[in-house]
Amino acid sequence: MITIKLFEKTGLFAENKDVARDIRIKEIIPELEKNEGVVLDFENIEGATQSFIHALISDLFRKYGNDVLEKITFKSCNETVQKIIEIVTDYMQESE
């Protein structure tokens, strides 16, 4: 299980999809491939766009199915970040 501290890469407002894609490809997927869990730590992040969260996690649903949510934990999300994550996870599961 690794913890990825997002603030160091995104700053206060997580909006850069290129950064999100890099984190997914270089850090999240390698852990999931090892059948390990991942903690995405949103500490100090004030806000995020739906596009950022989509670029960060949507492809994981396609690769690993909805059960991927059992391997990922979202830590220290404020209320709005948590709601945006819920929108994206709902959407991806409905899209299956």
């Binding site: 739906q50 596009s51 949507s58 709005t80 959407y91 409905e94």
Partner: protein, 319 residues
């Protein structure tokens, strides 16, 4: 091209300004202005600046400005953007707290830096900062990813004290919405393409439900929803099409996946705009808590997918 800056052009009354735009002779730009007064939405300035970037400064002609409010154009950076001499020599005031002058953003790094500066530039409190930062970020990223414009996004914004409103204009001179959406769908005209672009889950990058790993097709729906919940204008103009979200009359809030179900006006016979121009007003008096808005979006967004999935169900045959 010819463009006239009228005495007043805000999102509520912008139609005559758009109708008056003449896109013929694209190597030349003639700007005329109302001689008495100029008071316009930032989208007007962003549009003129965006056109100007594609024209040699020597081919841009501008009326000698007579209007009392001409300094506004200078301070928003219009003439330096067009590289023409306004003949004005005014003392620049610090822009903080009042407006974001015309700014060109060409890549992701420009955008990240810009977004980090929005809150202090407009002196926003945290409640309003979330919506404004969100809107700017998603709209500009749309330009950078989908417009294929070499000049990127031309952005400007202004805070209006009297109405306590932030007005934002984001413009590009790229491929336009029809061409972008037409990669995966076949909209019959510009306004149909705009309609599709506003429906959650529809993106030009794929026809697949859920979008691609990089695009969900939800950005514009989120922005329109923010404007709707805050009872503010939102306008999108591309090609000959223009969709305008009007202020709602009922107090009840219900987000609609199809933009035609919202109170709106639309046109499909305007002078052709090569690219996309988006304007939005956010009233700071009526700004709902962002988290409440997200609850509404979550409901509407997932409902839209369910409805589309249901429409694809196989039907039993009865004989």
């Amino acid at each position: 091209m010819k463009i006239h800056i009228p005495n007043s052009a805000f999102l509520g009354n912008i139609d005559p300004f758009l109708k008056g735009f003449d896109p013929s002779n694209p190597d030349i730009l003639e700007i005329t202005t109302n001689p008495k007064w100029i008071s316009v939405h930032p989208i007007v300035l962003s549009m003129i600046a965006a056109i100007g970037l594609n024209i040699k400064p020597g081919n841009i002609k501008c009326d000698k400005l007579e209007a009392k409010s001409k300094h506004y154009l200078e301070r928003m950076g219009l003439f330096s953007f067009l590289e023409i001499d306004s003949g004005m020599n005014i003392k620049e005031h610090e822009s903080a707290g009042r407006f974001i002058p015309l700014t060109q953003l060409k890549n992701s790094e420009d955008l990240s830096k810009f977004v980090s500066e929005i809150t202090p530039l407009l002196h926003l409190d945290p409640k309003h900062a979330q919506s404004i930062r969100y809107i700017m970020s998603e709209l500009i990223r749309n330009v950078l990813e989908h417009s294929l414009s070499e000049n990127g996004a031309i952005v400007s914004a202004q805070y209006h004290t009297k109405s306590n409103t932030i007005r934002i204009g984001i413009v590009d001179t790229g491929i336009g919405i029809w061409k972008s959406i037409n990669q995966s769908y076949n909209p019959k005209n510009d306004i149909e393409a705009i309609r599709l672009a506003l429906i959650p889950g529809i993106t030009g990058t794929t026809k697949k439900e859920g979008g691609t790993e990089y695009n969900a097709g939800a950005g514009l729906f989120f922005i329109k929803s923010i404007a709707y919940v805050n009872n503010s204008f939102f306008m999108i103009y591309s090609g000959r099409g223009m969709y305008k979200l009007l202020k709602k009359q009922a107090k009840k809030i219900k987000l609609h996946p199809d933009p035609y179900d919202d109170r709106h006006s639309k046109k499909n016979d305007l002078p052709f705009w090569q690219g996309t121009a988006v304007g939005i007003d956010i009233s700071l008096d009526t700004t709902e808590e962002f988290s409440i808005l997200l609850d509404l979006i979550r409901e509407a967004y997932t409902q839209a997918i369910k409805t589309r999935k249901k429409a694809r169900y196989k039907k039993p045959k009865f004989i």
